[in-house]
Symmetry: C2
Subunit: 345 residues, 2 copies
């Protein structure tokens, strides 16, 4: 008899316009018998990330595969091995990788995203398991490489940071601050801005919806910010880039404000870049893969010594994943958005 | 009695879609009496440049003013002073600046483009007057600063150049070649490509419409081009950037292929930039204004010693300006597009 297994599926693609919880459903599935080479995973924590919106458009996009309708959604997550037919993994092991939005899943080496199919061991001494997904996961690596590898700031420079209270934002800002950078965070709510300044030591935090944002930025950086670390894109970035001056640098990390556009977003009106003669650089963590151990080692040191506070927003229960997904695109989270599905056995 | 004076006007704005000659008309105007401080100019040569398409949309664009319907179009040009009520200029002087598309015009210091209102003296020993607009004008400065100030190539690097046979393209390619760069030009016709390779010494010239362009670029630059000097934008740039690899640099010089889009263009789909981790830098000559004498001095040396061949496509007669304008947006020209209106008195 097959074991029952709940999973969360996407019901329909949404090309343009916001997603909401009705686009998802919690369904009842079942687990087949484990085959040679496979392992049975119990889902512990799931990561919810903005890029996933691009897997929900139904479009043949440039770099993201599409979720299969009616099948389990996949994301980065931490799981525990409860049964193993694979010599490399033992029951009880903690692992991370791309896993299903389900209570249990069978891993056989084939995953949604080519080249990232391997399950990696999670050190049980990590502290919080969710840190494997946040500060020591995709968010931490993105912030680390974005600042150290792309922005390469000098102490005393001024950096404007959009999506400052997001999973990458809080870390990019704190890393820049460690390096002596004046960090001006942009965030959409007063509680977020208070956290950025009071708890994380940002020099200032501004409301990205302010009609006077350009003037507020000019007041804080009269010669224009040296760096704009951009997680957001769209009309906000137009405003920030309009106050920058050559040779200001833009670090393009994400374009979350555009993902709901028909066609999937990622279009940039480059006129302020052209008019102001800016340098604009993109990256993904894949471009720095060889340096992942260096990044994680350094991030661990900073977390241990209290120089980085890895804030998180936690949802609980597999059924909360759609709410978390809708929420991250709406900016509900402060720090890393995770869903805790179950505890360690 | 007022002196009759022909001029070319824009009849209607075109927001999206190509312009054609019916959007222009040659009209009969008249010249008022010269006032104190003014000079009377006779138009000798007019420059036709792609940016002018942006002045024909009727939109409140980011950096371009709109031509006034029914009034003389303005562009960079060379003129001769035939009468002067201004102590700084004498009859017979050759000058350049923003002037009317008309046989004669009155200059009083007020021009279309703020900050560039001054008439500058043209050295009668320049050789061809049109060189003041091309190799020693906007095109030459754009190519010089784009290569020396933005691309900053090292000898042996590979540079892909779009719009390679255009006014900026032929110069950017030749300057890069002087610096030891392997230049791969993209151009739309066989005669253009032949000129680039046989006459200008480009390493290769490819048809930008080729369905195998990505493969052809990979064959010529197996590790991806180091530099992409982009005059064109749009889908062509998507292809070029898709074969580039971090830390490849894109020099954004112009986006001519997008200017006919509704809204005026300048939108870039940044997914290949993001996926490949590219550095993307824009500029205008205004960012290097302090170095204009250095640039013109060096360009003069290169032209004199035969290292740069300043190719031009010449139209004749004021009535030919609409044809030249439509033609430059269609890519009819090889090198600088100019309209010779009259000879020196």
């Amino acid at each position: 008899m097959q074991q029952p297994n709940r999973f969360v599926a996407l019901n329909s693609y949404v090309n343009g316009g916001p997603i909401n919880e009705t686009h998802f459903s919690l369904r009842q599935g079942s687990l087949p018998q484990l085959k040679q080479g496979q392992v049975l995973l119990k889902t512990l924590v799931l990561s919810v990330d903005p890029y996933m919106r691009g897997c929900m458009t139904g479009l043949d996009t440039y770099f993201l595969p599409q979720f299969q309708l009616g099948k389990p959604i996949m994301s980065l997550g931490v799981a525990q091995i409860v049964e193993s037919q694979n010599g490399n993994y033992s029951p009880g092991d903690l692992v991370q990788g791309f896993i299903d939005w389900s209570d249990y899943s069978i891993w056989s080496g084939a995953t949604l995203v080519p080249g990232v199919g391997t399950l990696q061991t999670v050190d049980p001494g990590i502290g919080k398991l969710s840190h494997a997904l946040g500060v020591f996961g995709l968010n931490g690596l993105t912030a680390f490489f974005g600042i150290l590898g792309v922005a390469r700031p000098r102490a005393g420079e001024t950096m404007v940071l959009s999506g400052a209270a997001g999973g990458v934002g809080i870390l990019a800002g704190q890393i820049a601050r460690i390096l002596g950078v004046r960090v001006i965070g942009l965030a959409g709510s007063e509680p977020k801005r208070k956290v950025l300044v009071d708890q994380l030591g940002f020099e200032a935090a501004l409301d990205y919806r302010s009609e006077k944002l350009a003037d507020e930025l000019r007041a804080l950086a009269p010669h224009g910010p040296d760096i704009y670390f951009d997680n957001v894109g769209g009309s906000l970035s137009q405003i920030v880039m309009s106050v920058m001056r050559r040779p200001g640098r833009v670090v393009e990390c994400g374009q979350i404000s555009t993902y709901d556009e028909a066609g999937g977003g990622w279009k940039v009106d480059i006129r302020p870049i052209h008019a102001n003669g800016l340098r604009w650089e993109s990256f993904t963590t894949a471009h720095f893969n060889e340096f992942t151990p260096a990044a994680i080692g350094q991030l661990s040191h900073w977390v241990r010594t209290g120089k980085i506070i890895p804030l998180e927003t936690e949802h609980r229960g597999l059924e909360a994943t759609p709410r978390a997904m809708v929420g991250i695109l709406r900016g509900d989270n402060i720090g890393k958005m995770v869903v805790t599905v179950a505890g360690i056995e």
